[in-house]
Structures are given as structure tokens and as C-alpha cells.
Symmetry: C2
Subunit: 570 residues, 2 copies
Amino acid sequence: MVHDTPSTPDFFARHRELLDRAVAGTANREYWSPYPESPSNSVYGGEAPKQGETTLREQLGKAFVLEGHPHSGTVNPGEVSPYGLALDVDYPRLTPDEAIAATTAGIGPWRAAGPDTRAGVAAEILARINAASFEIAHAVQHTTGQAFVMAFQAGGPHAQERGLEAVAYAWAEQKRHPAAARWSKPQRKGEPLALDKKFTPVGRGPALLIACNTFPTWNGYPGLFASLVTGNPVIVKPHPGAVLPLAISVRIAREVLTEAGFDPNLVLLVAEGPEDRIASVLAVRPEVRIIDFTGSTEFGDWLEDNARQAVVYTEKAGLNTVVLDSTDDYQGLLRNLAFSLSLYSGQMCTTPQNLLIPRDGFTTDQGVRSAAEFAGDLGGALDKLLGDPARAAATLGVIVNEGVHERLAQAAKVGRTVRRSTSIEDPDHPEAAVRTPLVALLDAEADDQTYTREWFGPVSFVIGTDSTAHSLRIFRDTVREHGALTAAVHSTSEDVLAEAELAALEAGVHLSENLTGGVFVNQSAAFSDFHGSAANPAASATLSDPAFVTGRFATLQSRRPARRPEVGDV
Amino acid sequence: MVHDTPSTPDFFARHRELLDRAVAGTANREYWSPYPESPSNSVYGGEAPKQGETTLREQLGKAFVLEGHPHSGTVNPGEVSPYGLALDVDYPRLTPDEAIAATTAGIGPWRAAGPDTRAGVAAEILARINAASFEIAHAVQHTTGQAFVMAFQAGGPHAQERGLEAVAYAWAEQKRHPAAARWSKPQRKGEPLALDKKFTPVGRGPALLIACNTFPTWNGYPGLFASLVTGNPVIVKPHPGAVLPLAISVRIAREVLTEAGFDPNLVLLVAEGPEDRIASVLAVRPEVRIIDFTGSTEFGDWLEDNARQAVVYTEKAGLNTVVLDSTDDYQGLLRNLAFSLSLYSGQMCTTPQNLLIPRDGFTTDQGVRSAAEFAGDLGGALDKLLGDPARAAATLGVIVNEGVHERLAQAAKVGRTVRRSTSIEDPDHPEAAVRTPLVALLDAEADDQTYTREWFGPVSFVIGTDSTAHSLRIFRDTVREHGALTAAVHSTSEDVLAEAELAALEAGVHLSENLTGGVFVNQSAAFSDFHGSAANPAASATLSDPAFVTGRFATLQSRRPARRPEVGDV
């Protein structure tokens, strides 16, 4: 096979130890971080930060070079940084037919290479993506509006870890069964019946990755690597507003595939403009057998309903919920929650929206605080956190697109606004639209039409309920019906925590309890925290677990009579 | 928890060794058979055969007793043995609402019990089903028309092994992640961030098992046990013609659940008459979250299209194919193939239908045999195999229903009939409709409309092609498009075998090579052979593999700040 010739590097041998460690990490769920999250010179080299920025600057207004990539002409999706920079990059334009034809050509050798070789190639791609973390961080910042450090961490090492996690699951899952086995069944008389059997993991077929605007790499890598390692080519279809981070990733993947002796078209970039609808065309092509999607509930539901020939892994919208029962660290709770609401202006699919609290108040170490008082205190905590414009901008980042602005304007009209969304000037980016979170006070009974839909962006509701039991009931029922990616509870009572855990199991959502320190409900760590669950309507996939990979391949078997050892055989 | 009280038996401890051995068996794919397949007195006790028959006889014309089973009235589906015996058994009748209400009531404690306890309960159910193998064998014989030994083996121990295999996958899959983990992330300054995390497997929700007429237990147990062990209640909806074998199984499951302290309604029987359509009503109920189905492509496709709230595992129809290139054991080939076509009158979902052979012939150790000559030789091998009526009846069993008779009549009109289907009198069952296989000669080009649909029953086509390459192309293309559960090739050339293996991988079907002895293409062994693949249209599931279980549960997580060890803590 191609990859065994002496001139091609053995990426599997190079990364074997990492892969074994990664598989162990998926199993023990303890802390493990293979890619350093600190954007410091000592880790990534003194030149990396400047080189990353220079590379971005040099790309502006030019064609993005993808060696040997099929195309008919180019497309400029009109990427403009929320920080004000026009990216103005041209990418190859492909018709769906061209993409399908190119992506299927290399399947045979990729299947024949086997899981070890594929996992080695994937690990090498991730190693080179890691080395390009600064370049990717700038691209993420200037497409998503994340502040730089977050763009580096979430778009770089943390995304790479989610990618490696998917590699580990995909690799291990294909090794659950042996490549060969001898079956020997004793007979009452005579020799046993004996068969030699082969077992071959075979990819389901071409995969389509439909990525999102806010976390193109973090949400994109798991599907990309899960499909690739299980033997499938991948068509990467970025959001028109965030093409560059994935274009860089695709370029690196193609380089490694080429070096390893495989067809680089196993990973394709299909960029499109905002008015194109190529995702919905590709998604229903019979050749496309796997789809990974992050984005709106509307399009996710459409994919699930219409792309019937494919397995469809979606992450959609939900009602992330916090149940407030009691706390012995009120200031810690407020600080922690204020940061969760502020990080990237609440534009994370994991940002809490619905804060359920008894109308008459909950018990804290600073006395009972009513729902209205809590809303005011939360507003105060936000003011304090975001008081310094430079530090505030580094937390908030920028509003990613017009849709979020419109939602913010609508949110100012619902319930009672306790804290308005304000503008902050980012000293380094005077044109950037920096907005602080809005907090409104709602009533559980009167305002259920408002809080049972997702308000993606810096919008949160303090919702007054009859009691904690009522809060838990609303939590369970609304998440069961509308979904959620995260949930949290604050209580000093083990009984209430147990009830909240039960409600979360019944709602099908992961739960964070009493976070008052340096861990936030909207953050999840690869190799320890599951992101999303297929157990509620917000997602049909978990990043990552065995179910995320088992549908991407089949283990096919052949068997033949075992050759009997003959006299003289050694 | 209920199952931990001293008075309830610890089924997990009792079966722990078996379960560990079963998990090892799924992983190594070597020969392993936990339930003896021989219906001999020495294995199952001298009384078992007579007791099994007596139990069946005593059941005839009576109500089937299911202790504590919900019902509103009874239903008599009108089961009549293909061997002539009227079963005339009444079963509880349930409305869909009653079934849903009853099945959901016990979910909480079943979830809380955890995977070990659930696997232990399942293993105990299987142990008692194994002890009832003779009773079940008679019930299988007199609903499916399988001859007794086959009814015993395929309906008894082999089905039980497929059930245990599913238990093993379901149990192991839920143990991939720990129940708890400590996550501790070093900080540049000060104490690490530390969280304690819990991971809980949670069932997707109520499962519906829609079983078939021909293999109610063999095709039914895997879904039943996979769903149950992953924490889900199961509604068992048998085919109206084959209720009794599953009713016995449900009774045993309920007894064990009760003894273990769980709600017996976690396993329900929903019997119906031939005109009822309760499966299609239940299948689209929002509460039903898992469906296992074996049967027609038409209803399987309908389920996949309409039961969108559920994960749907189907096994449907296909074009089981044999490619004949060459052989060095022509007589062995003919004997082996004749038996495969005759076993249970070709009414196995795995029976070969399309036999592809170069028109001008293939090379054998007895000279070149043209397609027409081969068809004649195969007819002769069938005549020889089925020459003795008593032995023939023990192989053929009985035609299961009118549909197969009609198909046989149609098949007599297509192509050139080389061997007619004949009637044989079963000396022990003079009323039984015993029919021998029909063999017709077709042409690959002229008759493609005929051989590209499934002719379920004793109908096979010898199809003349241009060459082996042409045969392989037809094999790959027809199976990709129409599906298959089995495929076989005969060749003395390693190159051709390699090409056939490649074609099978591309078609997505398992392949048997050069079977001329005591192993048959239509038989698959649990813990070694996969049955079906989700890689072609004949099935969306494999019995069993990890993909068969991962969709039935989610692993949900909770996390909280780790309690810091205090001075004085031990």
C-alpha cells in the first residue's frame, strides 16, 4: 500500500503514544490537555504570534491557495471581521457535481489503509494545525468576533483537543473487533469446522461538514476527524462568514494527506457566498452519507427531515437553564454567572439563558434575595466585571452579525429590563460593536412564550417561579421539549441537588452544580466533559462519544474454510 | 435501591462470569457457544423434550397467562401451525395508550439500577429462556413451520446466543465511561481547579420490537435485550402468526423482573390480530423512542420514513447473491448450495437467490460447466438431497404462509424452470405443505427486472453472465441498490477472491468464500459472524455490533466543585 513505501512518513508510529494516551483519556475522563492552551511565546515559539498575524495580513484581499484543489472559478463569500477588517478572500468555487466527483475518487486506498494509518494521518494533521494555532486564532478572531485570547484557546488548542478526542473514539471503535480471527467449532465426530475470518471497517461514504459562524473549528473538527478516521472523505462547507479558519485547516489536511500518499481531495473545501444554498443541495445528494451540522434549529430540523440517505449529527438551539435554590457563596455565584453571560457576549451555544428562581427569593449567605433583587445583583455584578473597557472587550468580544443586534433590540421590549445592554468602546478596535449582556425579569407563568425560545446572544432572563420545585419542573419540561446544551443548579441542599440531577437525567442534559470559582457552565473540557447530548432536542450528537462515530462506518466480514495445516508446515 | 435489599437475588453476581466471557467473545470473534445447541436429553434433562411438548399441548385453545399484565379484554390472533395444528390462544389486548402508560411507569428504578444490575437481570432471563428451550422450540415449530430440530436450534440456543451477544454489547458499551471521575486542572498559581464528575447511562426511552413470522425469537431477542439492558422498557409486538414464542419469552422476562424487584411492565406483550395495525400506531407515538423491526422492505421503509422520533433498526429484504467463478470441489459446492437453498424452504432472510455464473461456464474439477449445465446439476443435487421424504421434511420444514405459495406460483413463470418446486409428504405431518426449491435459469441482460427483486421463499435463479467480471459487477451494483444480507463466492483464484472481497466491501455485504463443507452461507454464528450490515439497503442494523446499542442510551454527566480534603480527613 502507498503508505508503506519507504519514502512516505509513518505518521502512526510518530503519534502512536499520543493516540494511546488519547484513548485512555476518553475512558478515564480525568484532566488531560495535549495541546497547551496558553498563547505564550515559551510554548509556541517567539515568532509564532507575529507570524500568525503577518500570515493573516498577507492573506487579505487575495486568493486562498489550495494546491491541486478542484474548482471552476472562485467565490468570494465577503468575509468581514466583526472587528472591522475586510478579509476579502477568494476561494475555489466548486459545483456539487465537481465536489462529489473529486471527493469519491480517493476512497479505495483510504479504506485499504486501515484505521491505524488513518488515525496517524489525522494526528499529524492536528499536530500541524496546532503549530498554526496563531494563524488560525487570528482567522477565528476576524470571522467570529471572539476576542483574541478566546479565539486562540477555543479556536486553537481546545478545538484541536475536541478533534483529537474524535480521532481517539473513531480509532478505538474500529479496533473493537480484530482484523482476523480463526473460528473453530468442535464436531461430535471428526475434525472441527474451521473458518478464517477477516473483519474490515468500511466508511459509510462521503461526509458533509456544515460549519457555523461562531465556532468554526471547535464545532467543526470533531465531525471532520470522526469521518476521516473512519474512512470517509469530507466536504467542508464553512459558514460564509467564517471560511478562513477552516480553509487553513483544509489546506493543512490536504498537505498531510498528500505527503502520506493519499488523494488530497479526501478533504475538500466548498466555500459559498451568503446567497448560495450549496449546503442544502449537497445534503440531499445520494452520494453524501454523513452530515455534521452546527447551527439553527430550523436548518438542523430540515436536514434531519430531508437528508434521509445520510446519518445526520446536529447541534442546534436550546434553552440553557440555571436553577437557583440556595447558595453559601452569593458573591462567587454572581461573579461566576456574570462571567458566563459575558464571555463572547453570550454568543456561545452553551451560554445560560433562563435563570429560574423563586419569586420570593432564595437563601444566600447574604440573606434571602428575591428574584427581583437577584436580577439587580446580577446586573451589578455585570457592571463590575465589565467596568474597565479594555478588560470588558477582552471578555465580550464583538457581536458576530446583524441577527444578534436585532435580537438584542427585541429583547429590550420583553419583561422588565433590569440591566440594559450597553455599548463599550474597544480601545484597540474603535469600530467594533461591543455590547454588554441584557438581563430582563420575567414571570414563569405570564412570560412562558418568551423564555421557551432561544435568544442567541447576550440576553438572559431571570424568571420568577413559585418555588424550587416549580423551577425544577419548568427546567425538566422546557428542556425536554425545546432542548438545552447546558444546565446548572445552585443549592446548599444535597436533596435539592439530587432532585436537580434527576430532573437533568429526565430532561436529557448535562448538569453543572454550584459553580462559583474558575469553572464556568458554558465551558466543557475535551476528554472529560461531554458537549451536548443526543437525549434532548438541542442536539442529535455528543462531542464526542461512541455514538458519534459508530454510524460512520460498518465492519464487514469475509470468511472462508481454514486451510488445514499440512505435514511439513512450520 | 430495590435490587440491593437482601431478599432480592443478585443476578449480576450469578452471571458475572458469563457476561465477562460474552464480552470477550464479542471482541475476539472466535467460536463460543454458551447455550448447547443439541436438543439431547443429556444436556437439557430427560424430561425436557416431553415437558416442552406437553406444555404446548396444554396451551392450545386457552388464554395465555401473563401475571399482572395490563389489558382490556383479550385478542386471539388466530395462530395456526403450518403443520396443521390450530393454536387458538388468547392473549391480553392492550390499546396503544394502555401500553405506553404501563411501559413508562417503571423506567425510573430501572435507570437507577445501573448497567450491572440490568445485565444481570437480562442474563437470568436468558438462562430461564434456555431452560424453556423445548417449550419454545415447539412454539417456534408451530408458528413458523420450521422443522423441529431447526426450531429448537435457531429458535432456542442460537437465538439465546444472539440475545446474550446484544446484552454483552449493551453492557460493555455503558461501561466505556466511568461512573465517576475527578478532574483536576493545574493552575499557574495556587490550587488546581478540581471537579467531581458523575456519568450516568440513561435509556433513550420506550422501545417497540416488531417481530417477524419466520424467526420471532432469533430476530427478536437482540433488540429486546439491547433496549432492556440500556435502560429502556420494551413493548413486544409479535407477528400475528408467531405470537406464542415471544409470549413465552415475555412471561419469563416479567417473572425475572418481578423477582428482581422491578416493574414487570418493563416488558409488555402487545398481541394483535392479522387485521389490526397497532404496530404502525405505536411506531409513531412520540413516547416510543426505539424501534426494532424485521420484515418487509415496504413496512421497514415506512417505519424509517415515519417514525422520526425514534431510532429505527430494520432488517428488510435483499438479493442474496452467489458468484460462481471456479471450484476444485464441484460436488461439495453443489451439496453445500443445495442444502442452503433447501433449509427451511429458502424462507431465511439469508438464503441465496441470485446465482451468477458465466453463461459459457465455469471451471470445476469435473470440467467446465455452462450456466445451463450448472443449473441442471444443482437441480440434481436438490433431488438427491431431498430424495427421502422424512429427511427432506426435516430439512425443508413447511411453507409459512400463503404469500410464499403465491410467489412460488409466479416464479414458475419466469425464465426457464430447470427444477420445479415439488410437493413432499411429511410422514409425521400429512397436512403440512412441504415444498422443494425451484431453480430457474435467467439471463443477466434480459431478465434483470426479475432478479432485482426479492423472491422470499424456495426460489433461486441461475443467472448467466458474460464473465466473472460481469458477475462481480452485477453483484456489486444490485446489492448496493437493493441490498443483501449474505453473499458468497466460489473461486480457486486468489485474485478473483480478492476482487470479490473488494466488491463485497463496496456493496456493503458480508462474504462467504468457497463453502463446500458443513458451514452454510445462510447460517451465522453469534459472537463470531455479524448478521446483516447497516452498509446496504437490506438492513439499517447489524446483529450485533456497537452501533446496534449506542443509539439506545446517552451518557449524561453532572459535575460539581470537588470538596477539598480538610485537615483530619482520612
